[in-house]
Symmetry: none
Subunit: 191 residues, 4 copies
């Protein structure tokens, strides 16, 4: 029974199914058929809505980044001072959702895809810039001059810690956050 207004629902179902499949496979080697079946529709319909496999992947990536961004916003809104805001941004990277196997898999494949897919690279840049911008903004309260370079270091450290935690089996979210915060403090204490 085809209904009108199904498109957004179908698209959302496909995005979710894609993330789940990528998580289950650990790679982008997932078939459109498998995704479609998990989403409860035919693969032909998936093509109809997204145009092709790549588009589906990118939509999934956008979804993950959007969810992450929402989490960051939420934590930022709850923070009352620069220090709290810095901690909010950092800890957001290590929230539970980020360590879902499907999200880990998506992120790692995101890096791979960024080498060859310009849209993926664009999304990655947006993520990095937003993180950098958030960090720099609040770092200025402490050390205006070195804010950008510290922000870069923190951004890189977040990625590095994330990958190690993600590939290292169950880790404490808190632990990852503490490592980055210690780096932050070390930099801020200098001079």
């Amino acid at each position: 029974m085809p209904k009108i207004g199904m498109e957004p629902i179908r698209r959302a179902a496909l995005v979710e199914a894609t993330i789940a499949e990528i998580g289950a496979a650990g790679s982008l080697d997932v078939t459109v058929s498998a995704i479609s079946k998990r989403a409860g529709m035919s693969s032909a319909l998936a093509h109809h809505y997204f145009g092709g496999k790549d588009q589906i992947f990118l939509a999934a990536m956008r979804h993950i980044l959007k969810a992450f961004e929402a989490e960051v916003r939420s934590r930022l809104n709850a923070a009352r001072c620069p220090r709290a805001r810095l901690e909010a941004v950092i800890s957001a990277s290590f929230w539970d959702e980020s360590f879902q196997p499907s999200v880990i898999s998506a992120w790692l494949n995101f890096y791979v895809l960024s080498q060859t897919n310009s849209e993926a690279l664009r999304l990655l840049r947006i993520y990095q810039k937003r993180l950098h911008s958030n960090l720099t903004h609040d770092l200025r309260s402490f050390c205006s001059a070195r804010a950008p370079e510290i922000a870069y270091g923190i951004g890189a450290l977040i990625d590095g810690v994330y990958i190690r935690a993600a590939l290292g089996g169950p880790r404490e979210t808190v632990e990852a956050t503490q490592i980055v915060l210690r780096y932050l403090d070390a930099e801020l204490e200098r001079k």
Copy 2:
């Protein structure tokens, strides 16, 4: 003109060709045929020597890690004091070879593969442990107690900076090294 003793030559050619193909494709989506053709032999022979696609990939990974390890050893041997040794270990991660597109691609795919392939994960662990061990050893000269945690942070930062540099187009090797060294100094300065 078949000759005896070809095996090591063929294997080496295949490993090199594999790395080149992965680099050209940006992903592990490379065919055994393409690899074999680049290596100047039939795909059947590639299977004969390696047994399967996975084996070829892992051999390529081992090759990259081995070359990296050799570089680290070489730089360590030239260093005359703990500080120089720390700098040797850190800068080795950002030597020119590491930023060859094919090596970048191999590393990124290495992470992806580690999620599902236990041998890949094992190799990754070895790399991480060796790095950690090298760093810890020389850090003890400066701050015996906090050496392990600082080593962990440096290792993670190296990975993070590497990924950002690798996906960010041409970067200064020196710059990447400086970022990590600054982190090192910040930690060491903390009383």
Copy 3:
């Protein structure tokens, strides 16, 4: 021009083509491509409907056994007394269809496959049991006690005569039936 409801048509076409190919090759060394081409479709579609080569073979076997069973039923229905029923069951094994080269080939390969394929063995057992059951039922009218053992002998003799006839070039159907009937009579006359 894809239409709905094609599945049963395609499956039937594939089964028929499989039997024909096995007959032409004389062995199970037939390719899915050849079968599919003969059935007028792509090999991909054959896999889509059957899942794999083995499934196609077994479907063909089931088809042959079903046709044979139908012939037996038909002859049994036309028989009016136990003796006529025994003759019906025996002669059915040697009806014209059974000596089609493709059917002969299928049967011989059936035996081979039964060594390693449990589903094939299952089907073979069903055939043997049905034959045994049919024979025993009507033999009881003549010699209740020895019915099972005579039935076993007749079943075995049918198989043996069939193979010899099948591999011996053109034979008289009647002749094969007569040999088995003579055995039947010899047993019934005893004592």
Copy 4:
């Protein structure tokens, strides 16, 4: 260390290995490599000695038939009267060796091969004629006129019983022999 006079040894090793491989596979789908490896030599040497895969198979068949024939001869020599000789011929078909999985597999595949390979068919005919000749010879002592037809029936029954026993899991050799002997007696008792 190539030695002279190795040829017969190599050939015998290959024949034995072939039978073993066929038994292990249950079909003729065995590779020359596997056979050669089991025989302790390279596949190239196997080709050198036999010329091709088919030749190797046929050599294996000849070996089995030769062994069987020797067993028959041996039992015939020990028999002192026509009846004993008939029993010798019949029981020989069901000696232990015949129920080795590898021999069973060879026989079943022999039938399959006989459809398309004239040499295989020729060997099969020789086996059948020899059996028929042996049986007829001694049956003449009891019923000169019907000897040929009885011999044909016994030959067919032997094959049928053998297949059923072979595919039916562990059976009593004696049982199989008894079934055929009962048929013999039933025929001889007539009139």
